[in-house]
């Protein structure tokens, strides 16, 4: 996936106003199968994918015992005893080792398979995406609710898994195909004049939408509670998962740090790693992701700061090349698309 095709700003606006396609085949996919699969995915993730209906998906985190985050992922229930875990490319090897370590406790009840190299993933995102998908695969695709998917459609004569999910803050789908079919599917979209979008715009789109990027907003030393992902953490103690006791303690006492948005004055960009200061010039946190927000036409950042500095409208400074630049704390996301949203999750 290149950084850009025609330019990050142009690609960003293309997705916000029309649609664009992303080759995100670098994502990792694992299959979890067997009679113990549902219990297994419940034990290793913070959400409750074992209670999903078939053809339903959910976002979740993979945590270690201390509540630190090993990865974030989307879990798809493909059958009663079959789940697909979609993980980050950079975390794939470690996730695979970790999951196999956990699986060893299950005996023969759970099988794991890394199918990353056999699958491609193309995302089609933007306000025009669903209309085009209807034209390409049939009107039924628009009936997919958010975080629902279907394996009944074909594109370019090839079977595909179409999922009403994405990473841009826009409506759209993600299309899983066999690796060998990916080029045909891509070309079918290109033939409808869909523009390809690079990694640069993928980052500005997800940043505006307040979506975390593993290694930035989530990491082994950043818990999903700190990252504000509490809706994806199940809290009933009889539904235990790895890391739950640590996360419940953080929820009870309140986390020491919180991830919040910052809108910055002026034009300088607060980039990942820059220190965040309070009124008394004390370092209270750091930037996890920052860029120019093309839709808002100003620089924004996600910052992980001391919880007592995380209230909306708090004045914080980011040290940019030695100069403190004023910002105001805002609730995430920075951008929310207008119009009706398909419900489902």
């Amino acid at each position: 996936m290149p950084l850009e095709y025609t330019g990050i700003l142009d690609e960003h606006h293309t997705v916000r106003t029309r649609m664009g396609m992303f080759d995100v085949s670098h994502m990792g996919e694992f299959l979890v199968t067997g009679p113990g699969a549902a219990d297994f995915v419940d034990r290793v993730t913070t959400n409750r994918p074992g209670r999903l209906e078939v053809d339903q998906a959910t976002y979740a985190a993979l945590c270690q015992e201390d509540g630190g985050t090993l990865d974030d992922l989307v879990v798809y229930r493909r059958a009663a005893t079959e789940f697909m875990l979609v993980v980050n490319a950079a975390s794939r090897e470690h996730d695979w080792a970790w999951l196999n370590l956990q699986r060893a406790r299950e005996g023969d009840a759970v099988q794991l398979a890394d199918v990353s190299d056999t699958l491609a993933l193309i995302a089609l995102q933007g306000p025009q995406a669903m209309a085009l998908m209807q034209a390409l695969v049939g009107p039924g695709v628009a009936e997919l609710l958010r975080f629902r998917f279907s394996t009944t459609f074909a594109m370019a004569g090839r079977p595909v898994l179409i999922s009403r999910t994405g990473y841009t803050g826009e409506d759209g789908v993600e299309i899983y195909t066999a690796a060998d079919d990916a080029l045909r599917v891509w070309q079918a979209l290109a033939a409808r004049e869909v523009k390809p979008i690079g990694l640069g715009a993928r980052d500005t789109l997800r940043l505006e939408a307040g979506l975390p990027l593993y290694g930035h907003e989530l990491a082994r030393d950043i818990s999903p509670v700190e990252a504000g992902l509490t809706q994806f953490i199940r809290t009933r103690p009889d539904q235990e998962f790895i890391g739950q006791p640590a996360l419940l303690r953080q929820l009870r006492s309140g986390p020491a740090r919180r991830l919040v948005g910052l809108r910055l004055e002026g034009g300088a960009i607060a980039r990942a790693g820059y220190p965040v200061l309070d009124d008394s010039a004390t370092v209270v946190g750091r930037v996890t992701s920052g860029s120019y927000a093309p839709t808002l036409r100003q620089p924004v950042a996600m910052v992980l700061v001391a919880a007592e500095r995380a209230d909306p409208d708090t004045a914080l400074w980011v040290a940019i090349r030695g100069k403190p630049i004023l910002g105001r704390v805002v609730a995430l996301p920075f951008y929310r698309r207008r119009g009706p949203r398909p419900s489902g999750q």
Binding site: L3, E4, I8, L9, G200, G266, I269, Y292, R321
Partner: protein, 126 residues
């Protein structure tokens, strides 16, 4: 790519013309991508050869600006505050960044052809 012959270039991708106007090259703006912010110096600042006088930020990266001469900042293009994209659209024209009253030129300034070779385009028409 366009490297006009009526000005000189630095290895760090700035240009300076005979009026002391300074900007970044077509090659530099293309490599940076969409410019969204320019940090300009104050008029009257004294600069030595190689001093950092400002910063150009694109969505994907930050780039320091280095002075090709010893001199004093006589003017800055403050329209770039509202129109940083002019650096991409017209790097040798309305995308100029500062004007210097030159006291001494760097000895290693490059001609258009030398600069073109440095950025790997080889010989060719401008």
């Amino acid at each position: 790519m366009n490297f006009p012959t009526d000005r000189q270039y630095t290895a760090e991708h700035e240009w300076i013309d005979s009026q002391g106007q300074v900007g970044i090259t077509d090659y530099a703006q293309d490599a940076l991508g969409d410019v969204v912010f320019v940090d300009l110096p104050a008029v009257g600042n004294q600069l030595q050869i190689g001093d950092t006088f400002g910063v150009v930020e694109s969505v994907k990266s930050v780039s320091d600006l280095y002075s090709p001469v010893q001199g004093v900042v006589e003017a800055v293009n403050d329209q770039l505050v509202d129109h940083p994209e002019w650096i991409n659209e017209d790097p040798y024209g309305k995308g100029w960044i500062i004007r210097l009253r030159t006291e001494k030129l760097a000895e290693d300034l490059l001609s258009a052809e030398q600069y073109r070779q440095q950025v790997g385009e080889g010989k060719g028409g401008v």
